[in-house]
Structure formats: C-alpha cells, structure tokens
C-alpha cells in the first residue's frame, strides 16, 4: 500500500469534465510530478484531494484512511499539506505569524487558559513560535520573521508558502507550481530545497510544474493529464520519449520541448 492512493477521482463543472477518472499514488520519500497543458485539470485534482471541492466520484486513501467527503481543514489535519499556484499568504500577519497560523490548529489550549494567562497557553505559544522559526530557517527565511509577506520578493514568498505548508505537519505535501515565476538560480535553489525536504521529513511530495528541468530532475514518476484525463504515466525518460505527450503540448511530432 502506498502512502497516498487516489483512485478514479472525477469532477464536472457544468458540462465540463475538469477531472475524469484520474488515479495516482505517491509513496513515502517519493517525489511524483503531474504535468499537462494549461487547463488540463492539474490544480483541480489538487483541489479535489484537499477537499476544496467535493468529489463527484472516486476515493482518496491516506495510509488506508478514506479522506473523501471530509472537510478541508480535517483533510489538512489528517496530513495533507499544500501550497498555492497563485500565492495565497495571509496579508495582515507577519512572515513568522503566517507559519504559526498553520501550526495553530494543533494548539489544544482553550479560552479558559488564554483568559487566565495560563501555563498551557504560554507554553504552547512558545512552542509554536519556536517551531515556526525553525520552518522559516529550513527554507532560508530566518532573517525575515517580522516582515510583512507582501514586502518579500516573489521568490521568497514562494518559500514562505512552503514553510507554511510544512507547519501543517504533512505526510503528503502537494506543491502547485512551486517554481512558477522564479529566475533560473531560484529554480535551482528550489530543486535543492525539495530534495532536502524529502531527506529530512521523508514525506511524499506531489508537484505540479511547467518547468521541465524541475520535473525531470526531481521526479521518479510523472503523470500527464490532458483534458482532465490521464494521458500517460511513467519514469521521466519514458515520458520524454512519449509521442502523445509531445503532441498534447505542442501539437506535432517534436520532443525538443523537454530538453
């Protein structure tokens, strides 16, 4: 049994089948890629797994536990963390607080402890703050704790998204175009970071990306989506050689887009 097994998920919006009978799986310590042309349903697939939309059909098993039909926050707490393609950081909060917020749902203290300035409250706040600082250091944002996220350059905002996802304590981490908008050296840095995270936490990583260098370097397997359907699945070399995949991307027989 793989860590995360998604079977036959389906979702229609009106008459459009955005995701059609899509199955995939990721195991511990594995990085798996999802690619496909714009509008292929990649982000919708992530939204289905994380419970943003209810499923029309299919099942989502995290170590055998069925997640389909649960609320978004319950799915996150079960161990699926994610980042967003269009960065969605919390504006009113500092960089450190953004990360703390993702750890807060695990804080047990209640209003009684808070209003009496109790031990549970003070101790837990200290723990969460230290933990959040640690996650910031992992992604290399230790000097920016008190900044507002909107003051950070784009590349650092992407890193903050990852730090925040780490604080939710994921067993499976879903990265939605983590390298979009990054310059070449930042892309290399991200590839290094993703590898480090896998070593350090041993979780499963699922990544949607258009930058082929990211996908081809990091992923052991790749799923290709087109019009909501699975077009191909396999190791990077196989996908690179797959004529159908090339056609889906550029419409003719030319594999050079993967070079």
């Amino acid at each position: 049994m793989k860590l995360l097994e998604v079977k036959g998920i389906t979702k229609s919006f009106g008459g459009v089948r955005a995701v059609d009978d899509f199955s995939f799986s990721v195991d511990k310590g594995e990085i798996v890629g999802i690619i496909g042309p714009n509008g292929a349903g990649k982000t919708t697939a992530f939204n289905l797994v994380t419970g943003v939309y209810p499923l029309d059909g299919g099942s989502i098993l995290l170590e055998g536990e069925e997640l389909a039909g649960r609320e978004q926050h319950e799915i996150t707490r079960s161990g699926i963390g994610r980042t967003f393609q269009n960065i969605r950081l919390f504006k009113g909060l500092s960089v450190l607080e953004n990360v703390m917020t993702a750890a807060d749902p695990y804080s047990e203290y209640g209003l009684a402890s808070l209003f009496s300035f109790g031990r549970a409250f003070r101790q837990r706040e200290r723990e969460v703050r230290a933990k959040a600082a640690e996650f910031l250091a992992i992604v290399g944002l230790e000097g920016y704790a008190d900044e507002k996220p909107s003051n950070l350059p784009y590349g650092l905002q992407r890193k903050l998204e990852i730090a925040r996802a780490l604080a939710t304590g994921p067993r499976a981490l879903l990265l939605d175009e983590p390298a979009a908008g990054l310059n070449p050296s930042e892309v290399q840095e991200f590839i290094g970071l993703a590898g480090e995270l896998r070593e350090r936490f041993g979780f499963a990583i699922l990544v949607i990306e258009h930058r082929m260098e990211v996908i081809m370097t990091l992923c052991s397997r790749i799923y290709v989506l087109n019009f909501g359907k699975l077009l191909a699945e396999g190791a990077p070399a196989e996908i690179r050689a797959n004529r159908e995949v090339a056609e889906a991307y550029i419409g003719k027989e030319d594999g050079t887009c993967f070079e």
Binding site: T50, V52, E71, Q72, H73, T76, R77, R82, F84, R88, L89, F90, K91, G92, L93, E97, N98, M100, T101, A102, D104, P105, Y106, S107, Y109, L111, L114, F115, F117, F121, R124, E125, V128, R164, A167, T168
Partner: protein, 287 residues
C-alpha cells in the same frame, strides 16, 4: 466635572461595545449590523432581573452576559456558514427583531415607554476597571492562536481552511466572545442611565461602532481605542456648532476614511517594540 465624568463613562461603555465589533469586523472581517441588540439584551436582562425579581447584582450581571452569549449562539450557529455579506443581513434582521420584541412585550419590558428605576451602579471606577479587564481579554485574544487564525481567515478564507483552520468554529467562538462583551456594555449602560428604551438600540448604533473600527484602522486595537475616544468626544467638542455638529462630525469621518484608507493606525499597534523602532528610525535620519 459631572459632565466630564459622564462623558468618560459613556466613552468607556462605547469602547466595550466597539471591542466586540473590533473582534467581528476588525479581526475576522465580518459585519454585524445588529450588534447593538446584544447590548439591549445585556441591559434589559440585568434590569428586569434586579427590578422585577430582586436578583442580587452579581448573579444578574452574570445571567445578562449569559443571555447575550445564548442569543449570539442562536444567531451565530446558522449564520457562520453563510457568505460574509449574508451575515450582515441576518444580523441586521436580528437586531431589528430584538427591538421589535422589546417594543411588543410591554408587560415585561415596558414597551416603547421603556423601563426605569434601574439602580445606578456604574460609577467611574467600575467603568475604568471594566474597560481595563475587557481590553486585556481582547489583547490576549488578538495575540493568541485565535487572533492569528481570525486574521488569516479574514485575509484568505480558502487558504485558512487549507492550513487546517476550522473556519466556522472560529467564527462562532469570536461571535460569542463579541456578544458577551457587547452584552456587558449593555449592563453598564443600563446601570448608568437607570433607564432603557428599545429605540436606543437600533442598527444606527451598530453602524456607528463599525465606523469607529474603520476610522481607527481595521486591524489595530490601538486604533479602535483612539477612534472611540476621538469620535465620542468629538460631538461634545463640537457643541458650539449646535445643529451643524452632526454634519461636521460626518465630514471629519469622511476625511479620515478617504485620506487614510486604512484608518488612523492601519494595522499598527502601540507597543514598546514599535515605539523603540520609531525612535531608532528618527535618530537614524537625524544624523
């Protein structure tokens, strides 16, 4: 001097009500246009218990706050799952319904004639102590996991859910806390004026509190406190302008809202850390 003390007491009572609106609008980004109804519930319940049933003061106050929380639960439970704009509609309806209820249950509440003969228990020290306690509770709330999560869901509800935040529960807890504070401000109000009438608690009061929070800066508790003081005292200072004072008041509010779109304080708070930073910057530019 009496006039001065009375204005301070009214400012304190308003501030406690504004704190409730700050929690709902400033922290969580929701609008309650019926918040004054909780003030009415607090005031009426404590007044009726003491006057008609001779309940001692402390249990009466506790029951009044409890009634406000219960009312917040009844309104909140079905509404927190609604879209933000619907929440304002439901609370507006609830507020007006409470006023109508008070008007129409004359045998208990005195109807439109109001209820009089409430003991005057709200003194200056009581007000100041109440403000200190309520403000401390709200400061703790803002700087805890609750406050952070509220700000997160105000900024981006979908992302907040994705970080494992139970958005409905959090909205409900915040709504109940705000209801309790506003209910208590109603208790203080009744015990000061010794007279309550339904017309004092319509949506205009709720709207005024929301204006105060916006003028202060939606994300700043310091701003809410300053704006409460400013906007409660402003009409008093403008007394010389007699009938023009409402117009002048409105113009001042409009100027602030237009030229400082994020309120007087934006999302800044007054703290030792912020003050020392500001001083350091001043010194830095001086050299």
């Amino acid at each position: 001097m009496d006039y001065f003390i009375s204005t301070v007491i009214f400012t304190g009572i308003t501030l406690i009500g504004v704190l409730g609106v700050f929690l709902i609008t400033g922290l969580t980004g929701l609008f309650s246009l019926g918040q004054a109804a909780f003030m009415a519930i607090g005031g009426y319940v404590s007044a009726v218990l003491i006057r008609n049933y001779s309940v001692p003061v402390i249990p009466a106050v506790a029951l009044a706050i409890g009634a406000a929380i219960l009312a917040a639960l009844i309104v909140g439970l079905p509404t927190v799952r609604l879209r933000r704009d619907y929440i304002s509609l439901v609370t507006l309806g609830f507020g007006e319904a409470i006023v109508a209820l008070l008007n129409n249950s004359a045998n208990i509440t005195g109807g439109a004639m109001g209820i009089s003969g409430i003991p005057q228990l709200t003194t200056l020290p009581v007000t100041l102590a109440s403000v200190a306690v309520c403000l401390t509770l709200v400061i703790l709330y803002k700087n805890s996991k609750y406050g952070r999560q509220c700000l997160a869901l105000r900024s981006d509800e979908l992302a907040a859910r994705s970080m494992g935040i139970n958005v409905w529960r959090l909205k409900l807890i915040t709504f109940l806390f705000a209801g309790a504070l506003t209910g208590y401000s109603g208790v203080l109000f009744g015990f000061y004026t010794t007279y309550l009438e339904p017309a004092a608690f319509n949506w205009i009061i709720s709207a005024e509190w929301t204006i105060i929070v916006f003028v202060g800066g939606v994300n700043s508790l310091t701003g809410a406190v300053l704006a409460t003081i400013l906007l409660t005292w402003l009409p008093e200072f403008l007394r010389f302008a007699s009938e023009w004072r409402v117009a002048i008041y409105c113009v001042i509010v409009l100027i602030i809202v237009n030229y400082r779109t994020s309120g007087i304080m934006g999302d800044r708070e007054l703290s030792l850390k912020a003050a020392s930073k500001l001083l350091a910057r001043k010194r830095g530019t001086g050299q």
